[in-house]
């Protein structure tokens, strides 16, 4: 079954994988491919490389979806691309879901928030998913492709909503509020233990840290209900039949193993893995036929390398017959504009 026919009925495609495998380029090319099937497609990406952003017309200051010009095909649809703003990502989330302006102001005044919130665990992943949900629910597109933020470990992406929900847990806030505890027996026991821990934490971090941290969690707790609700809906969307996951990986042995493991963990979340795309398996010049012999020692080494890489991929395929695995070539030229994305989309059409 071809990649195209596998993706035909998708409403959402999530392209996942570790950094440095060309995931964003592949996502953009999938967008072009599906637009050329007559669909109205949106590609959501976070922090693309400059060249790629330019190719998609995203080098301006806006984060609104923009139509990508210059795509033709038999049944021309439209392609939109949009960037998820990694810098102010959490600020925007707070603005959107805080119950009132006062909460927003209080939180943004907190020094821990000011200094460190851009690095907040899971915030990029969560806000990407939230953006996906917003676009999906507004229903302006036939298909949305989410290029996931690069993570050290692909599974981190899946854990992100859970982590962020934990962060807004009201129990943390309660934990920090000293004095005036409710008088039930259980809460007394909990607070005696937690008081000991809190005192210890204060001893090693200092009163100023504890007070800032406690304010931070208190302000965050105002966002709790909406965060829980959003995560629940994101999870629901990701579990839908029309939401397909693609893992993008390179052909390196360790990367293949990691990609396979990621595919397996998708099942634990009840997400649908539609296939694995192996990027840069063989170079473009590899199949150019007659000129393939040369006395150059270096060329010989390179050729042998790709030959055995292709063999290793074939072996991986035969060992994993249930996985739909697609191999892509490595372009001879660096990515230099929309025409290269279109070229890659033609390749995706063939596999």
């Amino acid at each position: 079954m071809s990649l195209l026919s596998r993706l035909e009925n998708a409403k959402v495609i999530v392209s996942a994988g570790t950094g440095g495998v060309g995931k964003t380029t592949v996502s953009a090319a999938l967008g072009v491919l599906m637009a050329r099937q007559g669909k109205k497609v949106l590609v959501l990406t976070i922090d693309p490389a400059k060249r790629l952003a330019q190719a998609l017309g995203l080098d301006g200051p806006t984060f609104e979806p923009k139509q990508v010009e210059g795509i033709d095909g038999a049944k021309v649809g439209t392609l939109y691309a949009s960037m998820i703003d990694a810098e102010t990502i959490f600020d925007k989330f707070v603005d959107k879901f805080a119950p009132n302006a006062n909460v927003v102001n209080q939180l943004k005044k907190n020094r821990l928030y000011q200094q460190l919130v851009t690095a907040l665990t899971g915030s990029q992943e969560f806000t990407s998913m939230d953006r996906l949900l917003t676009e999906y629910e507004e229903g302006n597109y036939d298909l949305i492709i989410l290029d996931t933020p690069p993570t050290q470990n692909a599974v981190d992406f899946l854990r992100a909503p859970q982590r962020i929900v934990q962060l807004f847990d009201e129990r943390i806030t309660k934990w920090f509020i000293r004095g005036g505890e409710k008088s039930s027996f259980i809460s007394k026991i909990v607070s005696r233990g937690t008081h000991t821990a809190l005192a210890a934490l204060e001893k090693i971090t200092g009163a100023e840290f504890i007070s800032e941290l406690s304010d931070f969690f208190e302000q965050m707790s105002f966002l709790q209900a909406s965060v829980k609700e959003r995560s629940r809906r994101v999870e629901g969307l990701l579990q839908k039949k029309e939401t397909l996951f693609l893992v993008v990986a390179s052909a390196d042995q360790e990367k293949l193993r990691e990609a396979k493991r990621f595919g397996e963990s998708l099942k634990d979340y009840q997400f649908h893995l539609e296939g694995m795309i192996l990027n840069r398996v063989y170079p473009e010049w590899f199949h150019q036929g007659k000129e393939m012999t040369s006395p150059s020692k270096f060329f010989g080494e390179v050729k042998d390398f790709y030959r055995s890489q292709m063999k290793a991929v074939e072996k991986f395929k035969s060992e994993n017959p249930k996985l739909a695995i697609f191999s892509l070539m490595e372009s001879d030229q660096p990515m230099n504009g929309l025409k290269d994305i279109v070229k890659l989309s033609r390749e995706l059409e063939e596999i």
Partner: protein
Amino acid sequence: MIHFVSGKGGVGKSLTAASYAHALSQQGRKTLLVELGGSRFFEYIYGKSLGFEPTLVEQNLSLCLWDGETCLREYLEYLLKFSRIVDLFFDNTIMQALVHGAPGLKELALTGKITSRERKVGPSLPFEELVVDAYSTGHFLALLSAPLAMSKAISIGPMGSQSRAIHEVLSGPLVEYLVVVNPEELPLTEGLELARGIEKQTSRKPKWIKNRWWPPMEESEKGSLPQAFAEKWQSRRELQTQFDPGSEYETAIVLPQIWSHNNKDKIYSLASLWMKELRE
């Protein structure tokens, strides 16, 4: 010394870091190769299960896997002495959420562990060289910036002074930053951004590891090559020589592309080149 190895995803950070660690250990330095976060790259390569505590894989060379949570736990145990209180922190869901949720805490614990020997804080770390296979660009800069950011947010108390001390080590002469680049446009551009980011955060000048560099093309080879391959070779060579923004920073080493699928072989080949470089 502490050696951080970073770069764009996919440039060969882990193999480069490992080969550097091998070379240092072969010079008789007691070396620890640290893998950060949840990646388990080296477990496959060395066929050993790795954990927080160093595992000896070769003479003078140990490997370990550090994450923020475990570092924080170890630090608390060291300071509090009573593991019952430490258990209280970690064995309940509230503290789990706190550890994951409090901004900067995990990053601070991790940088704290990495710099613990220089600061003489925490359990002893009996190694002379620490090679850290660090995160790629964005995550690495976030990790580096956490101690300074924390010390700006919290100026008084132990948290403030620890954060300042960590930042001082990270911006001092006992740390070396190595940025891995390949002769391709995106890794070069991102590598340069990363190098400048490191300098901004720490005032230290990082060094390049020029990885997967291709050799010059001989005149005699030129005519016999498939045209597309010759063009590709040419363009990589051009990028290699054009990488002049690189002159802002020194080059630690130039490593060729090793055309092998065996990652362990690759580590050994690259390590021998490091050895040569270190001797000079």
